[in-house]
């Protein structure tokens, strides 16, 4: 069984991430973002999802121990919304309030094929809920997808298995959300 934990940053949909993983037969648990990296290593996890949340990363400081996870982990990490923002800022990108915040239904455009988006068409419907965004991608990252009002909907670290996504694959109304999770689980299996 693949083991992927969900780090709770206070999102409305943290529990949905847990549910999606559980439905994919993943061994999963919601953990506080103050959990130490050593405790994660002891659990021998295969991957981590950083949930979204109310904290405004562009404006606030830390997100529990997330910095330590990003610094030390060699397993895949998927940052969603606030988790994505934190990842962007941690690696040297810029996070700012969005000029046009997106809520609800948006068209996602995939710019670069990647294992995370296997089976997802170039254009698809995703659900959003964000006030901030990564406005400049970190040096070591590449952009994988965008939308009309947000340049960086998905990004990937060039040398590490780290992904950040602005939209929410965990909710029912995101057309290929479950497929994206399936792909992430596959990446964690390797």
């Amino acid at each position: 069984m693949v083991k992927i934990f969900v780090v709770d940053n206070g999102g409305q949909w943290t529990h949905r991430e847990w549910r999606t993983l559980r439905d994919l037969e993943v061994d999963t648990k919601i953990i506080a973002n103050t959990t130490s990296y050593d405790d994660l290593v002891k659990e021998d996890i295969d991957g981590l999802v950083l949930s979204g949340g109310a904290p405004r990363i562009g404006l606030a400081d830390e997100l529990g121990n997330t910095a330590e996870y990003l610094e030390k982990a060699d397993f895949p990490i998927l940052g969603i919304c606030a988790g994505h923002h934190y990842m962007g800022r941690f690696f040297g990108g810029i996070v700012k309030p969005s000029k046009t915040p997106e809520f609800g239904k948006i068209e996602l455009r995939i710019l670069k094929q990647d294992p995370l988006f296997e089976g997802v068409p170039e254009k698809s419907i995703v659900w959003e809920s964000h006030n901030d965004e990564v406005s400049k991608v970190p040096k070591d990252f590449e952009i994988l997808a965008n939308s009309e009002n947000c340049k960086i909907q998905a990004m990937k670290h060039k040398n590490k298995p780290f992904y950040g996504i602005q939209f929410h694959p965990e909710v029912e109304h995101t057309e290929f959300g479950e497929q994206i999770f399936k792909n992430f689980v596959k990446l964690c299996k390797k």
Partner: protein, 315 residues
């Protein structure tokens, strides 16, 4: 995938362990509390006391039907008509969070009274995942205080038991189907009831208007679904807006309330898309509402927002 049979199998012994003595269940007659009651009933049998409260903010004939349901399941029950108490507690209250908190606390005080009479120590609630998620706390922002979580008073004598905490509505429905409960497909109805479908003060007069409007929306949509004209929405209801608009009735000026009709599609209430109802159905709803309540309502609008940015209920 969620396995309802397994859930039932593991939950009943857990409940037997957890509940040492008599328990009271807050019974609204919706899917969540009915499933909860059925599970706890299997675990502790006659040690369970169901309490149904008529808050005055129930839908048409709701309490009457709930009493029938409790009898049918064979529950040991109490029925409390507290509508006057609720109306007076909400007098002059406009803020939606205040309404929710007042209602939450009132519920608990009523349950405590019955608990005293019956010597009960445990309170069973059909709280499900979106209830505690949206109620917030610690890292999570409060979107709205669900009466069974965020509406709970800080000091409470009863010990809480919430067997469905990690489930979403679609999963609760699966459990209900396995338990062969008739209510398995019922649309969700919020604990604070019609009080949060009246924007502004929830007076008895406004309650009657929204109760009638909700009934019309339900009847029209259910009959359209039966005829195969549309898909069954996740939730469908009316909201009374505290604004008045000008109309014309038989060559005379009219000045009445606005009713908003809301219908959404969802699986778990965490995201929703507004339902695409055929125009002729919307037309029927609008005409029925404005004709039946011509002295009160002369305008009907349809809510075309998704969640996010909005929520299902307006408050």
């Amino acid at each position: 995938m969620f396995n309802a049979e397994k859930f039932i199998e593991t939950t009943i012994p857990k409940l037997k362990d957890e509940i040492k003595g008599k328990a009271l269940i807050a019974f609204s007659g919706g899917v969540d509390s009915t499933v909860c009651a059925a599970l706890v009933n299997r675990a502790i049998g006659k040690q369970l006391v169901a309490v149904h409260v008529d808050t005055g903010y129930m839908r048409k004939d709701e309490s009457k039907n709930v009493i029938k349901l409790m009898e049918k399941i064979g529950l040991n029950y109490h029925f409390v008509d507290a509508s006057k108490e609720f109306y007076s507690a909400l007098k002059g209250v406009e803020d939606p969070e205040k309404k929710r908190k007042i209602i939450g606390e009132k519920f608990i005080r009523i349950f405590e009274k019955v608990a005293d009479q019956e010597n009960v120590e445990y309170l069973v609630q059909g709280t499900i995942a979106p209830d505690w998620i949206e109620s917030g706390g610690q890292l999570r922002d409060t979107i709205k205080s669900h009466h069974n979580v965020g509406g709970l008073p800080e000091v409470m004598k009863l010990k809480l038991v919430e067997p469905l905490r990690d489930l979403y509505k679609d999963e609760v429905r699966k459990v209900a189907r396995v338990l062969k409960l008739q209510v398995s497909e019922r649309q969700p109805f919020p604990g604070p009831g019609l009080a949060i479908r009246i924007i502004g003060e929830a007076t008895p007069e406004r309650t009657e208007i929204v109760r009638e409007a909700c009934d019309i929306v339900e009847m029209e949509i259910e009959s359209a679904v039966e005829k195969g004209l549309m898909e069954m929405p996740w939730q469908y209801f009316a909201v009374l807006l505290p604004v008045k608009s000008v109309g014309v009735h038989g060559d005379r000026r009219a000045y009445g309330y606005v009713i908003a009709v809301r219908a959404v599609h969802s699986i778990d209430a965490m995201t929703c898309a507004f339902s695409k109802i055929p125009n002729e159905i919307i037309d029927n709803i609008s005409t029925k509402i404005t004709n039946k309540m011509k002295d009160k309502v002369n305008r009907v609008v349809y809510d075309v927002t998704n969640k996010p940015p909005s929520t299902v209920e307006w408050e």
